[in-house]
Structures are given as C-alpha cells and as structure tokens.
Point group: C2
Chain length 149, copies 2
C-alpha cells in the first residue's frame, strides 16, 4: 500500500467533483444556492430548535459569519429566526415554506446526482463504502478533532 493515495486526496478529489456537479445542477435551473447554504437548509430542516451556535459548532466557524450567512438566507426568505420558547438568549431557525421548497428542489437534485455518480456501483460496494464512511466519522470523534451536536 506504499503507492496508495492518502484518503484526504481521494476524498478531496471526489468531493470537489461532487460539489461542482451539484452547483452545475443548481445553476441549470437558476437555483441561487451554494453548497454550504444547501447544507445549512438541510440542518435547519432536521431540527426545529436549531440555533446559530449549533451551526457554528457544526461548521466549526465563528458565530459572526454564521450570523451573516443566516441573514442572507433570511433576506432570500428561505429561513426565519424566532426566539426560543424556554431560553431568551437563544433564537431558533426554521425553514419558511419557500425555503422548504428550495431545499426540496436542491435535495432532489442532490439525489439525482447521487444516482448518476453511482452508476455501475454494486450494492455490496456501496454498503462497504457507507461502512467505511461511518468508520471514518466514528474514528474522527474518538480522536476528538472536534465535536458537534
């Protein structure tokens, strides 16, 4: 395994292709969304009480840039920011109807891209692929590079 490419190289190359493919699909239907915004909408959709602090933890970014990016999503009318019921310091983020529609569209394109990119991949190969991904994520948490919710 001496000549093996490091994992970061394999993943980086591939991720770059996926990202570009996704952006291309967004562009094709005039969806004004970048990949990070898509991920943000995805996370906001997953929970109904997610906060900017949660997003900052997830992306490992400063709260201030998360605030600004959320502001952009609010300006686009994809996201709303409301006060937490129990903790006045906190504000929860929620998808608006428009935001949900945009997210759904983006998600469908993402699934479509998956299908295209996984053409010729057997079920067993994909199972092992997912298994590796899970192990990488588990090993990362054990190494404690960082933790997030």
């Amino acid at each position: 395994m001496v000549n093996e490419k490091p994992l970061s190289y394999l993943m980086g190359q591939t991720m770059n292709l996926i990202k570009l493919g996704l952006l291309e699909k967004f562009k094709k239907i005039s969806l004004q969304l970048n990949v990070e915004q898509y991920v943000m909408l995805h996370l906001i959709n997953l929970r109904e009480d997610i906060t900017q602090q949660d997003l900052a933890n997830h992306f490992q970014r400063d709260k201030s840039i998360i605030l600004r990016q959320v502001n952009t999503l609010i300006e686009l009318r994809y996201v709303a920011r409301i006060q937490d019921k129990h903790d006045k310091r906190k504000k929860n983020l929620m998808l608006t109807q428009k935001g949900f529609e945009v997210f759904s569209t983006a998600r469908n394109l993402s699934v479509e891209l998956s299908k295209e990119l996984l053409k010729g991949v057997t079920e067993q190969e994909f199972k092992d692929f997912q298994s590796v991904i899970e192990k990488i994520q588990t090993n990362t948490q054990q190494t404690n590079f960082y933790s997030y919710c």
Copy 2:
C-alpha cells in the same frame, strides 16, 4: 433506499472532518499550510510543466485568484515560476527544495491521518470504497461537468 442520505451529504460531512483533522495536524507542528495549498503543492509535484491555467481548471477557480495563491506560495519560497521552454505565454510552476520538504511533511501527515481514520476498516471494505470512488470519478468525466488535465 428512500431514506438514504445523498452522496453529497455523506461525502461532505466526511470531507469536512478529514479537512479539519489535517489542519489540526499541520497546526500541531506549526506547518503554515492550508489544505488547498497542500493540494496545490501536490499537483505541482505531479508534473513539471503545470501552469496556473491548469490549476485554475483543476480547482474551477478564476485565474486571478490562482495567481494570487501561487504568489503566496512563491513568497513562502515553496514554489518557483519559470517561463515555458516552448510557449512564452506559459509559465511553469515547480516546487523548490523547501517546498518539496514541506509537501513531503504534509503528505506524511496526510498518510498518518488516513491510517487513523481507516482504523477498523477491512481490506475488502477499503477495496470497495476505492472502487466506488473510481466509479464516481469516471461517471463525472462522462457527464462532463468539467474537465481538467
């Protein structure tokens, strides 16, 4: 497979973890390099006549930002820019000795990270993983999202 996470999500999450892990390792030994610079050094090391245009194609970035990033690597004395033998428009990029040393160090850290993250992954799983990665890259080129050297 309805509830399956799209490929872009799986990969994105994982790539983010890998990136952070790598940056952490660089930081630990005071290696002033970000991941994209590392990839750049890697590409420059692969060929001896690579140009800024080639890098712009690879990263799908504007030539002007590639120029500036290359300038930074030149300032760090990791890279040199020399005129192409056959085409006066072109300038080739090469690693300096210092650049090669830095790249080698970064590469070793990258390999080290690979080993840590792939703990518990069987040989068969990894083979399938690589097979999937190859197919993704092949499918991308067929779809012609973009092409690069």
